[in-house]
Structure formats: C-alpha cells, structure tokens
C-alpha cells in the first residue's frame, strides 16, 4: 500500500495555487489535510499525476464568525480551505455563533483525524456520509470556488452533485465554506448512529428548529447523511405543524422523512433499517433542536447571537 509517484507542488500563494490548478487541469488534485485523499492514494485507487499542497497557504487558514457573511447575507461562520476540523471545533466564536458545527464535528472520525483533516476539504470530497456536507446543506451554506477566471459561489443545494462528486471543476480551488447562522430563534442538534464510535454514520441527522416568541414552531428542517448519494435536506414543517414546540409531534416528521428518503443497503445496514433509523433520529433530533431553541436568543441578523440560557 504505497502511493504511485506524483509531482509535488507547494505554491506560496492562493493565486499561484489557482494558477497551477488551471494549468494542470484534470491531472491535478488539491492536497489539503489528506485524510480522505491519501488512503485512496495508498491503495492506488487514485493516482493523480500532480498534487498541489495548500497546507502552507496561511491566508486560507482561518475560522471567522462574522456579522455579515461574504455573500452579504446575515451572520455566518466562514472557514478557510486550510483550516482543520479541530480549528473549527475549538473556535469559541464559531461555537457561540453556530453550536451545530462543534456538535457535528465531534462525530467526524476521531480527534487525530480532525487535527489534520480540513472542513472545506471534506465538503469538496462530497462523501454522502460526511457530516459537514449535511451541515452546509442544512444551513443553506455555500462554497467559494476560485479559478483563473475569478471567483464563484455555489450554494450547497447545487454543490453536491453525486457521491464523491462536487461542483468544483478542474482548475478550481475551493477557498472557503460559509455556514450562515440561521435567523430567528433557532435551535440545532446533530444525532447519528454509527457502528463504532467515530465511524461513518449508518444514518446521521442534523436538525434545525425555529420558534417564535411564544415558542411555537415556525421552522423545522433536517439534513441527512448516509441515506442517498448526496446529503439530503427535508423541510418537515408541514408534518409537524405550527403548534407549540413543547407538544409538537416530532415523530410525524420522522414518518415523513422515512417515507421520503430512499437509502441504499450496504454491508453494515439494510435500506429498510436506514429508513427506520432516519425516522427515529429525525424525531429525536428535532426534539433536541426544539429544546436547544428554547435556550437560544433571537438572532435579528444584526450582530452576534446570544446565549440566554
């Protein structure tokens, strides 16, 4: 299990990296944390002739909780392409603004992997079992792609094209991912069932519940991993209704999810079991998110979210 030979490039600037990627086209792969790519290289399941190492690009090494996201919308957490999962997980401002990030990241493999793996890299890898793909999708986030022709921003709904396939074209470098802070009084939760602690989920659910001042449900969404070829987001408000959060029938949302999702079987679980799990976890995650919403302040999109619990 040794990788095939490749030509190694270590550009000193993002501009140089983009230049190289443009020049090399499909012959090049971006090397960031390497936690998904290098196993494939070691097993010779992939053998790109060129690797462009972006680890030393300090300008891409950041985690920012901002009042205004780069696309001009409300507050967001923006993660640069060289930032590690562990950096995002530990960032206090990011956690304050979007506790879902840390909650989901704690399920990404093990700390040693998170020390090296990058959040943007895992999103570009577009593994349908990757937690951060679903988090981006649930929050309606986006990825900024840079190429010799300039920048473009692709929303999560369009970014995940298929299993291990994203909208990033050859010659493009994903320089950041933007996770918008959801408006209103919104709580979140992440739940998953994995065979072992730290494994890819058999089914994972991120939930987002928004309540009004009377603690009535005004928004209920969930995102799923390991149930389709891309992360799936479902709006579940119709199933739940707009009643008081405390008495909402979250399991109805679970039933809707189960009837909507079309998971596949693999060696760890049948499709039927995955669907069943989706139902159970949807109910549990929405319940937890509603509880979380109770403790959150209202985000008026004018500044920092505040903890009121």
């Amino acid at each position: 299990m040794k990788p095939s030979p490749f030509t190694y490039h270590r550009p000193g600037t993002t501009e140089a990296a983009v230049g190289l990627l443009t020049e090399l086209g499909t012959d090049a792969k971006v090397l960031a944390g390497g936690q998904s790519l290098v196993p494939l290289l070691n097993m010779r399941l992939a053998a790109p002739p060129h690797l462009v190492d972006i680890n030393q690009l300090q300008e891409l090494n950041y985690v920012r909780a901002t009042g205004t996201s780069p696309d001009g919308a409300g507050p967001a957490v923006v993660v640069g392409a060289a930032a590690r999962h562990a950096d995002v997980e530990r960032d206090p401002a990011a956690h304050q603004a979007l506790p879902l990030l840390r909650r989901a990241l704690r399920h990404v493999a093990h700390p040693t992997i998170r020390n090296r793996g990058t959040t943007v890299g895992s999103i570009v890898h577009a593994d349908p079992a990757g937690e951060m793909t679903a988090v981006l999708a649930l929050l309606d986030g986006s990825v900024e792609l840079r190429s010799a022709n300039g920048s473009r921003r692709v929303g999560a709904a369009d970014f995940f094209v298929g299993p291990l396939e994203s909208a990033a074209e050859p010659g493009e470098l994903a320089v950041s991912a933007t996770f918008p802070v959801p408006p209103g009084q919104t709580g979140t939760a992440w739940l998953e069932v994995a065979r072992r602690h730290g494994d890819y989920a058999v089914c994972g659910v991120g939930a987002l519940v928004t309540v009004d001042a009377d603690h009535r449900v005004v928004g209920a969404r969930a995102a799923y991993i390991s149930v389709d070829t891309t992360p799936v987001v479902l709006d579940l408000l119709d199933a739940v209704g707009t009643g008081p959060a405390d008495t909402a029938d979250w399991s109805a949302a679970g039933r809707l999810a189960a009837s909507t999702l079309r998971p596949d079987a693999d060696i760890h679980a049948t499709a039927e079991y995955r669907r069943h799990l989706a139902a159970v976890l949807t109910g549990r995650a929405l319940t937890a998110a509603a509880l979380d919403a109770r403790g959150r302040g209202v985000n008026h999109h004018t500044g920092e979210t505040e903890e009121t619990a």
């Binding site: 040794k2 190694y8 053998a47 680890n55 562990a86």
Partner: protein, 171 residues
C-alpha cells in the same frame, strides 16, 4: 497504472524530530511514516494499516497528534515532530505516559503502543486530569488487539497522576 518517471525527483526534507534536526532526500510520495522509520531509522513509529484507521503510526506534528501514514514527508519540511522515542523523560528514562503503561500492564505485544503513547502525551497536555470516561474517549481513535483497552484506560489515568506529581503538567 501511471507512468513511472525514469528518475523520480528527490526532495530534501528537514524535520526537527524529538528536538534534533534530521534530513533526508526522498521522493514526493514518501510517506512520513516511512520517512521516520526507514530514512531516519526511528522505527518506534509503527505502521498497522496505512489507511489512517489504526493509529499505530500516530506522531505529534507541532504538538498535535496526526497519522503519519496519511502524510507525505515532503509536506512537513521544517516541522517539529515528536515520536515515541521522544516521549521519554529528560534523563532518557521512561516518560510519565510510558511509565504508566508499564505500571498498569498497558501493553502486550507492544505494536500499537507507540501510537497510544504519543496520542496520550498530547491529550494530557490539553486535559491533565481526565475522568475515566474521558480517558476512554481519548484513546478511542487507536486500535489495540491485545489488551481490550482495560489497562490502557488505567494507564491514561496513571499517567495523569505521574505527570501531576512530577510537575510535568503543561501550562
């Protein structure tokens, strides 16, 4: 199948390993684990899977544990690396984590042990007084086939004690 370059270019890689600058000229594809073991002769770092799951190859790069089998040496030119050989005490004896493993029978065949020692060393820098549950979680990314982890969990707690008593707790 890929084209094999007639002359695979070599990269001069210098790494400060356990405080000592070490250099070798290696191809770009040389894994950090192989670089440490076979180019620098530091065979304490072990290779158990080469796909990043078992943790035997874990070393500290700039203080953080990472899988050396998922890194190319050339990426770490100029880095500070700590291997199990560098987890000894100042006088060359067993460091607190190593001593704890001995006290608690935390190893049997010893093959996975270096990855545990490095992982726990870094963990205790961050969390000097873990609970038993935290200790179990701290080692959850490393596979051991001999011990059933019982005595490794005990070793984490014992190492915390030893570090506390020798004032080695990091600030």
């Amino acid at each position: 199948m890929t084209d094999i370059p007639a002359d695979e270019p070599l990269h001069e890689v210098t790494v400060v390993v356990n405080g000592v600058p070490r250099a070798a000229a290696v191809p770009a594809r040389r894994l950090l684990s192989d670089f440490l073991r076979h180019d620098l002769g530091l065979t304490g770092t072990h290779v158990g899977c080469e796909h990043g799951v078992c943790g035997a190859c874990t070393v500290l790069v700039d203080g953080r544990p990472i899988r050396s089998c998922l890194q190319f040496a050339v990426m770490h030119d100029g880095a500070q690396v700590t291997t199990v050989e560098g987890c000894s005490s100042g006088d060359g004896g067993l460091g607190p984590v190593q001593q704890a493993f001995r006290d608690c029978h935390g190893l049997q065949c010893g093959f996975c042990t270096p990855g545990f020692v490095t992982t726990i060393t870094a963990y205790l820098d961050e969390n000097p007084q873990p609970s038993e549950d935290e200790a179990r979680e701290a080692i959850a990314g490393n596979l051991c086939r001999c011990t059933g982890y019982q005595n490794i969990v005990a070793s984490v707690l014992r190492a915390a004690e030893l570090r506390g008593s020798t004032g080695e707790v990091a600030q």
